[in-house]
């Protein structure tokens, strides 16, 4: 086992336009998917910790792909398992957790973070893992890193993992800059004054509505449709625990968090882990599921002029990202069967969608587009997974769904039109990691 697991080198990320076709287009495939159960908060039992559920997800992904653990030679994952749910200072780690698992030198490993060392120590059947690397933050990042690693021949049967924990108490509240005695850097203009996480997005959306003469209520059909799709995702939180659909009236009556962003524009923190199995097309032939080919990946590294991006910077970043995605995959917007861009905050999706030019949507068009048939039954399925709005805060439902859609096993969520090419990613329209998936190598 490696002693120090690195983050992916910056050179692996395709952050510029003009790079041409991705050299590994169609030479990496996603085959297996594994998900843990979901919960609103950790119940304190070792067997439901983010570590335990991540191991469960890994095992399910291997089983789904029909791969034995000794065939796996790579592990790419994100270490962070939440963005706003820290372990309370001074609170002891439960003794039964410490005795159930092999610890690392961090007693919170497996509880509020995950290292590759912890995973490998506690998944003893993974005996042949030679390549480990972090794609920090999100599954979107880990996917990009794993795709690049398989493409470059550093691993040929690679597990990709992301876990999420959520402890009791308030998410984000009183954390970050707000928890410090003094504040330096950009935060002194934002969170130090109590602004909430969705504040920048709310500002963008407010500016967007004024710029294009549209109104917030036009966003409601997207949110309602997303929850509807999420309730068709049996692995998701709402399908498992709160199977009530949303109505337009629910959306319009939800309380403000940062006007014009309301409670229902913010995603619900949950506990869950997901794993995928990536491999080469040659090896995929012997596996249980149909391979889903990775046609390209792209990442944003926006340079902003102030403490947060402007609306125009956000729009241009999303558009540039789409150009990178299409260029590297050798496709156009017309080739997309569906899109699964990030939605947690809901208004992100407006900017992602317009950046992609999905179904010809141009700047200022998205809310009008939401008034048309964007359901999975129509020609223009928007966010068929339902994303975070539909299934809880993970930043990975859209990736899971893209694999399942193209494999033809999305169940009741399967889009009506043939799922041949999809694009997913996030988190931000002004910064993130994105992937193009295809039914054929391209």
């Amino acid at each position: 086992m490696p002693t120090k697991v690195p983050n992916a080198p910056e050179s692996w990320y395709r952050t510029r336009e003009g790079l041409g076709i991705w050299p590994h287009r169609g030479k990496v495939a996603a085959v297996g998917v594994g998900l843990s159960p979901t919960a609103r908060r950790w119940d304190g039992r070792p067997e439901t910790s983010v570590g335990a559920w991540s191991i469960l997800a890994l095992r399910k992904a291997m089983e789904d792909a029909g791969v034995s653990p000794d065939q796996v030679d790579g592990l790419v994952m994100a270490q962070d398992t939440a963005t706003g749910s820290p372990w309370p200072p001074g609170k002891p780690v439960p003794e039964d957790f410490l005795t159930t698992f092999q610890p690392t030198d961090d007693p919170l490993d497996g509880l509020t973070r995950l290292s590759a060392e912890w995973i490998l120590q506690n998944t003893p059947e993974l005996t042949n893992v030679k390549f480990t690397m972090y794609g920090p933050g999100c599954m979107s990042n880990a996917i990009v890193v794993a795709a690049q690693a398989v493409g470059e021949g550093l691993t040929d049967t690679c597990l990709v993992l992301k876990g999420w924990h959520n402890l009791e108490g308030r998410y984000y509240v009183g954390q970050g800059a707000a928890a410090e005695d003094t504040i330096a850097g950009r935060a002194k203009w934002t969170t130090g004054w109590g602004t909430v996480a969705c504040y920048p997005t709310a500002m963008h959306f407010e500016a967007y509505c004024r710029k294009y003469g549209v109104t917030r209520d036009m966003h409601a059909p997207f949110v309602v449709n997303s929850r509807k799709n999420g309730l068709l995702f049996p692995e998701g939180f709402y399908a498992q625990h709160r199977p009530e659909p949303l109505t337009v009236e629910d959306y319009l009556s939800a309380r403000w968090i940062a006007k014009p962003a309301s409670l229902l524009d913010n995603d619900l923190p949950i506990c869950v882990s997901a794993a995928y199995l990536f491999t080469t097309p040659e090896r995929a032939r012997d596996m249980k599921q149909k391979p889903v080919y990775i046609l390209n990946h792209a990442s944003d590294r926006i340079k902003i002029r102030s403490v947060m991006p402007t609306l125009e910077e956000t729009e241009e970043c999303a558009a540039s990202n789409a150009r990178k995605l299409y260029e590297g995959a050798g496709i156009t917007a017309n080739d997309l069967s569906f899109e699964g861009m990030y939605d947690g905050f809901g208004q992100f999706h407006v900017f992602h969608l317009e950046g992609l030019g999905f179904r010809g949507v141009k700047r200022g068009d998205a809310l009008h587009f939401f008034q048309t048939d964007i359901s999975i039954e129509g020609w223009n399925p928007v966010s068929p997974s339902g994303g975070n709005i539909g299934s809880g805060r993970t930043r990975f439902w859209h990736h899971t769904d893209a694999i399942q859609q193209i494999q033809g096993r999305a169940g009741k969520r399967q889009i009506w039109r043939k799922a041949e090419v999809g694009v997913t990613g996030g988190p931000f329209p002004y910064g993130g990691n994105f992937t193009v998936w295809g039914a054929t190598p391209g």
């Binding site: 709160r242 949303l246 939800a254 309380r255 229902l264």
Partner: protein
């Protein structure tokens, strides 16, 4: 004496997530006393309605948590109570002119000592 009780759901009601200490039996008892009962929660109103129906209780109202003032305008009562487990419950209750009880105190059913309820067996 007309009394209206609004219950938060998560962290307050036994069917909330997390479960709270207010039981369905307590709610039924209040309703049998003639109290107006319902919920003001961050759960969407349609989901609140579905939860009450699932538990076979006819709620007089459901509303977003910040909709307590609107509930007050719809129902005439001598006393308005909101039961919750968060600062936001207290904040919205007091802003709307409701008396506020923390969920952990409300498990003692303080409303049973209000008005005609004292005459009950």
């Amino acid at each position: 004496m007309a009394i209206l009780i609004s219950f938060d759901i998560d962290g307050t009601m036994e069917f909330g997530d997390p479960p709270g200490g207010i039981t369905l039996e307590m709610v039924r008892r209040a309703q049998e006393l003639g109290f107006l009962i319902g919920s003001c929660s961050d759960r969407p109103p349609s989901a609140q309605q579905a939860l009450w129906e699932k538990h076979d209780i006819r709620a007089d109202f459901v509303a977003p948590k910040h909709g307590l003032d609107e509930v007050k305008s719809r129902f005439e009562a001598d006393d308005y109570l909101h039961i919750g487990d968060r600062d936001t419950d207290q904040q919205f209750a007091e802003r709307a002119g409701f008396r506020f009880y923390w969920a952990y105190d409300a498990i003692h059913e303080p409303w049973l000592t209000l008005g005609d309820a004292q005459d009950l067996p």
